[in-house]
């Protein structure tokens, strides 16, 4: 099974990269751009019997290592 984890800084934590990218996009003429967030995606193969079990495992990985929930939120896709 393929797992994808998307990690972003939480709302309320200043995303300095997002801010810089937003300013750069504005500078290039895309004035309508707003609320840019820069995050990361972590992808991996997972040998798991069913989707629910896989999701639970990936959740646990996020809590333990892949995200720091003090500053980051995450979203898991398994399929």
């Amino acid at each position: 099974m393929r797992a994808k984890v998307h990690v972003f800084l939480k709302e309320g934590v200043l995303d300095v990269q997002g801010k810089a990218v937003e300013q750069a996009l504005h500078g290039l003429g895309w004035a309508d751009v707003g609320h840019v967030r820069v995050g990361k995606t972590i992808e991996f193969e997972l040998a798991a019997g069913d989707k629910a079990k896989a999701e639970a495992q990936v959740q646990a990985m996020c809590e333990k290592l892949l995200a720091n929930t003090v500053i980051e939120s995450y979203r898991v896709e398994v399929g």
Binding site: L9, G12, V13, L14, V16, Q17, A20, K64, L65, L66, N68, V70, I71
Partner: protein, 220 residues
């Protein structure tokens, strides 16, 4: 007096910490590889050094915080042993849950290396007792993700309980409330971004960092 410096893969201030402790306190310093599952008997001070453990990949300090030795470090913290995390060591302590908050990307988006003036906000901790009467000290910072973050409630609590120990006079990286160093609620775990291990002799521009190691070991 006995101190231990933990060496993670990618630590690069481990030798500096050993030299700084030896020269400023005369204490015996053991280097402890991160895969160890025991700490030296009777250790009075544990230092998590600066560097780029695991290349700072994923998040600064995240993978080091899960190293085998960290279980022992946590146990030692529970016993009241003095623990100092410097720079990457501070990041590791936050990731390990031994200190509140997190260190995020610098506001200027760039690594910044420069001398900084620090207010000693609380000179009553076991790490800062030697600074009594000193309002300001000088150390250098060198970090790309030294921007201290915690939510408002946590910041209020830290301020209220005297857990903010060092504050930048001029904020180099966007840290919340100019915070440069904090202690845990029990007062035996200190994390700071500036480097006392680069400020232990006048030739290095400042000897103010020596006082921190002296205080930490004197309190043991």
């Amino acid at each position: 007096m006995k101190a231990a410096v933990v060496v993670f893969p990618g630590s690069n201030c481990d030798r500096d910490c050993r030299t700084a402790i030896e020269r400023s306190t005369g204490a015996e310093v053991a280097m402890v590889w991160h895969k160890e599952t025991t700490l030296p008997e009777g250790v009075d001070l544990i230092v998590l050094p600066g560097g780029f453990s695991y290349g700072d990949y994923l998040r600064c300090g995240a993978m080091a915080a899960l190293s085998p030795v960290m279980a022992e470090v946590k146990a030692a913290a529970g016993r009241g042993v003095a623990i100092v995390g410097i720079c990457n060591g501070f990041q590791i302590l936050c990731e390990a849950g031994l200190l509140p908050g997190a260190l995020i990307r610098n506001e200027g988006l760039k690594y910044v290396c420069k001398p900084v003036a620090l207010e000693v906000t609380n000179a009553q901790t076991r790490f800062t007792a030697g600074y009594a009467g000193r309002r300001q000290v000088t150390m250098t910072v060198g970090n790309g993700e030294g921007n201290y973050y915690a939510d408002e409630a946590t910041l209020e609590r830290l301020e209220g309980e005297g857990q903010v120990v060092f504050r930048y006079v001029q904020n180099p990286n966007g840290s919340a409330r100019r915070i440069a160093g904090v202690v845990n609620d029990r007062g035996n775990v200190l994390g700071l971004m500036p480097h006392p291990d680069r400020a232990f002799e006048p030739e290095l521009g400042s000897a103010d960092g020596a006082i921190l190691f002296q205080s930490a070991l004197a309190s043991a």
